[in-house]
Symmetry: C2
Subunit: 373 residues, 2 copies
């Protein structure tokens, strides 16, 4: 667990120190003052905000200033479609859905198929297959179809590429080298790619021919893209996008790094069966409990490192009272690891049953969501 | 004139040694054997081929093999629209038109507006203006509208970008560094750009879902793009394109480097008035004649370094007999520099009068040429 922390858009490893990330990335902590400000508009606060799962931001006060002046923002998030969608992705998307509902705003959802083609050894066709597959999950989240627009980098290149080169012209190789750790061996598509990720934050402004503020909810590993593009937005005449950063849902095997689609044993996928969820949680979910029941009863468990507890806290137990009780009982030894796991399994399976039902329906709704140029 | 030769897509300078370029670039000289082979199909030979203005090639024998098997090729050339079109561009395009006529083939004409935006300090809007302007010149050349398709990199990005990333994935920064002399200060759009130039050579194959050979006529400074992309084509399942390389039309001021749109005194533009042509030739065209009429009559002039003579040879005097007479008379001192210049002025102005007439008509024909996706 002492492994050196590394957080880039393409690698998250080591024990994550979020306070250190806030400093290194130069972002602001989401504090009670800004939470109060959000609450004035949303009435309640999403539990992921209350519990600091979305923990830091850029320019959120400015965004709320604009909102309060009647200058509505839009949301922008996305997905690199290189495999199945897992809980870590869904966490951000369900939070984004809450933002869409509470603020009544548009969402632009980017599928970075070019990125995933360029950064993996997967074929173009395979990435296209995952793009379609992953859209089903995004639709299943329940975004408002009238207010949600999917952009696919290759499909919408005539819209995105002409803008991307405007960012690209102001970013040199030294900059991406420093921001992402690229070397001369990186391919020229990888080097260019960050420009494409910058664009959706200005698409509504282009289409409406006026500046519209943008809020990007994302896991913090994606922040370097916007750190690089950030200074470019005003140079092109646009607002810098505001950002809220989420923590990583930990991998099943422990609290370092993040849940990853590429490691089967680390992730629970959106299409996993109840049986698979059960097996994975039982078999892999790292426990903060004691070695024996006797010891656990006597000394209690540690929810801070217990993956099952963390999943409840970060995603599957919205009710603070219930979560508090679980934490208390686990710490005291009243609640055993097995019991905690069973509770989580039930929660996840209930959640996935609903998600998977909507995912089936989504198969007929893809066209509705893809932006018509 | 001893300045070190430099030939890249973005800089041509120094005394050009074409034999050295053939060796450095690893291309083949166009010899009498291959000229005979071309002649079998075209009946006559374009004077730019007879006189070695198009002087080297890649894979032309293979292209003719395929052609003779009934596997027709298509042509691909282009223009980086950053300013007015000048005679150096028109030279390649008129030759390309001859190829289109003689072989009865399609032409794909790429406007690399992204490139010119990324490699100059011009604004996006200015480049768009030049793109439209330069299209008028391409149309005025007289390409068959039924067989000619304009691609604009930004406008057709949904077609080009998804293919460009397939090239990009197989080209790293070290490679473009070596091929183009890029440094870490180059912007990430410049680094990516060569992938976009690779794509038109496969567009007809994609659209027709079968492999179609491609012939690219170009000035040799553009060859490095294809040298970089060349090995990638077969990896993606396509033929390597064949290429014929043209020499540079020299700048007015001398035989080093190439005619350049960015130096007013070095170029004659497609839209120059008869008066402007007259003034430029009289004032700037480097002379191979002697300092005084007396000396010239006695010792004769040197047509090899005389820009006016070279323009006649390379572009404006298609008739070998007339050109031979001019050369003889100039060498002997019978023809004076002033007389040679007057002859060239008449030739260019007659040519431009026709070109400009068609250029006016072209204003209503742009839509016909732009490829409909």
């Amino acid at each position: 667990m002492d492994k050196k922390m590394k957080v880039t858009p393409w690698e998250v490893s080591g024990e994550i120190d979020y306070d250190k990330l806030i400093k290194e990335f130069g972002v602001q902590k989401i504090d009670s003052k800004i939470l109060d400000r959000i609450k004035r508009h949303t009435k309640d606060l999403h539990f992921m905000l209350r519990r600091g799962v979305f923990f830091s931001h850029r320019d959120l006060n400015w965004l709320l200033d604009e909102y309060e002046k009647g200058n509505k923002f839009f949301l922008y998030t996305g997905r690199g479609p290189s495999g199945r969608v897992q809980l870590g992705h869904l966490q951000t998307w369900y939070f984004t859905k809450w933002l869409q509902e509470k603020f009544g705003v548009e969402l632009w959802f980017q599928f970075t198929d070019d990125e995933k083609f360029l950064f993996t050894d997967k074929s173009y066709d395979e990435i296209q297959k995952w793009t379609h597959d992953n859209m089903l999950d995004a639709i299943a989240v329940g975004f408002d179809p009238k207010k949600t627009h999917f952009l696919v980098d290759t499909k919408h290149a005539s819209l995105l590429y002409p803008e991307a080169i405007k960012f690209a012209k102001k970013i040199n190789f030294s900059t991406v080298k420093a921001a992402f750790g690229f070397t001369n061996d990186y391919n020229i598509g990888q080097i260019f790619y960050t420009s494409m990720q910058a664009v959706p934050a200005i698409v509504p402004s282009i289409l409406n021919k006026k500046n519209i503020p943008c809020l990007i909810p994302l896991a913090i590993d994606q922040d370097p893209h916007f750190r690089v593009a950030r200074d470019v937005y005003p140079k092109l005449g646009y607002y810098k996008p505001a950002i809220v950063h989420g923590m990583f849902l930990p991998p099943l095997t422990g609290t370092g790094g993040k849940m990853s689609s590429s490691k089967e044993s680390s992730a629970i996928f959106s299409t996993d069966s109840p049986k698979e969820v059960e097996t994975k949680i039982r078999k892999y979910a790292f426990s903060g409990g004691r070695d024996t029941v006797e010891e656990h009863r006597k000394k209690g468990g540690n929810p801070d490192v217990d993956v099952s507890f963390q999943y409840l806290r970060m995603f599957f137990e919205p009710e603070d009272k219930k979560l508090g009780k679980i934490e208390e009982d686990y710490r005291s030894g009243k609640l055993l690891t097995g019991e905690l796991k069973e509770y989580l399994i039930k929660k996840i399976n209930a959640f996935l049953a609903e998600h998977q039902k909507r995912r089936e329906i989504a198969k007929k709704e893809v066209d509705k969501f893809i932006f018509k140029m």
